[in-house]
Amino acid sequence: MKHTKATIKKYCIRGAILLLTVVSILFADRLLCDHTAHGIRQARCIYDQPEDSIDVAMIGSSHIHCDVNTALLWEKYGITAYDYSAAEQPLWITYYYLQELCKHQKPKVVVLDLYGPARFKDDYQYEWLRDNLYGMRFSLTKARVMTTCIEPVYLERYFPDFFDYHDLYRDLTAEDWAEALETKDARAAFKGYTPYFKEAQQVEPALEPTLSGGITVKSEIYLQKIIDYTKENGMELFLIVTPYITTEQDEQVYNRVKEIAAAQGVDFNSTNYSYDEMGLDFDSDFNDASHLNYWGSCKFTDYLAGELLDRYALEDHRGDPYYASWDRHAAEIRRQVEDYLNSLNPEDRRERLSRITQLKKPLVSTLTK
């Protein structure tokens, strides 16, 4: 009896220590991991979204999470969208992202940005790989991502993730602690959109490409896989190119994708031919040559919403308490915009506010009060 009690006590203590260790490792992982909003935060927060709440999944490169204003889509149209994207994301990672998304969500529409396959031609791309990988939870899907996007000789650099960023304890900030201790509700309120506020004057590209081609074999294979996957799972696929300073070479790829889309019966829109319709101002709506700033993203998102509502039947979920996280998301974006405006001098603030008035969004009425 005594021996049994002692054995039970021994295993209880060991079990408790094991549990403590596991919890500590999970917390350390959350604390020390990169918290970038170039893909890691987008990938982490997807797991905290209410089950089957995302109607429109925006996937692809940073053009998505910089240019698609999910707060505007919600406030003005009641569309529940999530920017599930990462910097310079190639299509083979996007394909597995889509599979990961569909574990807990059933989006009606998948909007795929095509900048990645147009601009980057290497079959293995490492510059932003961490931002594409480290937000994803480990699973068979992630294992497949890694074997597809990492050459075997480099695998140990990226797996386990924790081995790569465990030494970031040196650079911890208050924000890192805040994010590690964030509640599930706070994470659910993040929908991927990260507004930029810089203004960099750009030159409108003059586009007259007639050729098509330049897409790599690997990209084309995975584009086809994405098309097949969305069809098999009853999702509409909308292939887009967001506004940026495009090039002849990029346009050739888009022409090729347009051909594929036409052959497969998939919707396609290169919005680089719709600058006027959007009302984009090349002097003030771009953060840099590749991304729109907040003002540009509002114009583009308004245009995109029109495209989505014309093509697909999307519900307006405003007022439904199940989607309260989108209300919190919109409030957070408003706060970020207000913080930015408050950082300006009075003259600049007036000028920016006048731009908001011109945008005619519900966001406007809140900020101009």
Partner: protein, 470 residues
């Protein structure tokens, strides 16, 4: 054995079939895994070790059955030692060989130093009648190839190792706290390697590469750092090898017993690289006559042994100087004992002298050549610059507050643990098991979490252990 994620994969890949398949297959499963491990390291190394294994397997049987065993043993030993000496000095020979010649393509096979000494000790033990020749080739091959000890030892004795293989079918994973004991050795070994050795490695690399660029205090610290790095790296590896072997029911020799607590040089060599020092004692020092042929002969034998020890580590003047230094220390230690000068060979003074002497000798172990070593020592003793220079060089070396904090805390843990374990006549990892379930569990947790967060591993770490280069 290297340390990277593949090591854990190797371990898991070996444990599962070992315990799930038929028990009688266990030695063969381990042999297969060891061959696979060696293949992934280097196919040439696998070919070489299998060739040596086959030859010495036949030699072992031949020693028992053929006439003129003395001649056979002498020839086999001479060939083995000759091959080892040749391969150790290949880098020197290559520096004078003509480009493209056969000599320039020769490299010392991985693990050669260790398994060649094992093979020689195997034959010597048969010759001395201590053991019988192993008739099962696979068992002998496993003795030579066992993967946790393949790259950096310990140098196992055939009798101890082979007798355990026949008992492998009786081993149970969940008996005698096997998993906990193994985990303690693994944890402590990795703690030494990742918290201390890997942390010091970039600094010693810079300090020893260019001593002219650093001030005397930093060079002095460099000497200390290397002393710690070498111990933590090698002992860490050894503890990991013990822990892994224990998981399979194989107990290999412990190679270290807190050597830097030694109070004289003899004590040091009873604690440092124990399997090498006992090999040299049993197969070189004693056959030479040991201390049985007078004091003068004893001192000569000591010098021969330590020169051989130096040359085992590598060719060139530096290892020779290192060996000569240790030989001289041993002679002086014996002289001091004979004179009754106990204060030199016991207590705090004995410890201080031993630690200082070992530190100085390690300089020659580390530097690429003799003149470099002399420059290092000269600058360390003579060139002193101000505090501002020290601080500026600290920044350049990356020795910031985090570095010092984690290093000193880790050293405090290790020193505390080793002293405490020494008093209980236990090894440091065994000491973890004497704190009770809760105390031991919390210590385990603290060491593990400390290592996971503050340890140096991943892409920026070296993965390799220093002694695999020998």
């Amino acid at each position: 054995m290297n340390f990277d994620i593949n090591t854990f994969g190797m371990l898991a890949g070996s444990l599962l079939p070992y315990y799930l398949l038929r028990k009688n297959w266990r030695p063969y499963v381990l042999l297969f895994c060891s061959c696979l491990y060696c293949w992934f390291l280097s196919p040439q190394a696998l070919f070489c070790v299998l060739a040596v294994t086959f030859v010495y397997y036949l030699l072992g049987i031949a020693l028992e059955r053929l006439p003129y065993p003395r001649i056979l043993f002498a020839a086999a030993t001479a060939c083995g030692i000759g091959a080892l000496l040749f391969l150790k000095n290949v880098p020197l020979l290559q520096s004078v060989a003509s480009e493209g010649s056969l000599l320039t393509r020769i490299v010392l096979p991985l693990g050669f130093s260790y398994y060649m000494f094992q093979a020689i000790s195997y034959l010597a033990d048969i010759r001395a009648g201590k053991i019988k020749a192993e008739t099962n080739f696979c068992f002998f091959a496993l003795y030579m190839l066992w993967f946790p000890k393949f790259l950096s030892g310990p140098i196992e004795r055939a009798g101890d190792f082979l007798s355990q293989l026949r008992a492998l079918p009786e081993v149970r994973l969940f008996e005698k706290d096997r998993i906990m004991v193994s985990l303690r050795f693994l944890l402590y070994g990795f703690f030494l390697k990742l918290m201390i050795a890997e942390r010091l490695s970039p600094l010693t690399e810079k300090l020893f590469a260019d001593p002219g660029a650093y001030s005397a205090p930093w060079l002095f610290l460099g000497m200390l750092f290397y002393t710690l790095e070498l111990y933590c790296d090698f002992a860490g590896y050894s503890y990991v090898a013990v822990g892994i072997s224990h998981l399979f029911g194989i107990d290999i020799c412990v190679n270290f017993r807190m050597p830097y607590l030694a109070v004289n040089i003899s004590d040091f060599w009873r604690r440092w690289h124990i399997t090498l020092s006992t090999w040299l004692k049993d197969y070189l020092y004693i056959p030479l006559g040991g201390s049985r042929k007078g004091t003068g002969r004893k001192y000569l034998n000591l010098m021969i042994v330590f020169v051989a020890c130096g040359l085992w580590h590598g060719g060139g003047g530096c290892f020779l100087i290192w060996g000569l230094l240790h030989g001289a220390y041993s002679v002086l230690c014996d002289l001091a004992r004979r004179k009754g000068w106990k204060w030199l060979t016991e207590g705090f003074t004995g410890w201080l002298l031993t630690f200082a002497g070992v530190n100085l000798a390690w300089i020659f172990f580390r530097v690429p050549n003799l003149s470099h070593g002399l420059v290092y020592i000269k600058r360390m003793l003579l060139d002193h610059e101000g505090v501002a220079v020290f601080a500026a060089q600290a920044r350049e070396l990356g020795a910031d507050a985090w570095f010092w904090g984690i290093l000193l805390l880790s050293l405090a843990v290790v020193i505390f643990w080793e002293v405490l374990s020494e008093r209980k006549h236990l090894l440091a990892p065994e000491g973890l098991g004497t704190l009770g379930e809760l105390g031991g569990g919390l210590c385990f947790y603290a060491l593990l979490m400390g290592m996971l967060i503050f340890g140096i591993y991943g892409v920026e770490a070296s993965h390799e252990f220093i002694y695999m280069n020998f």
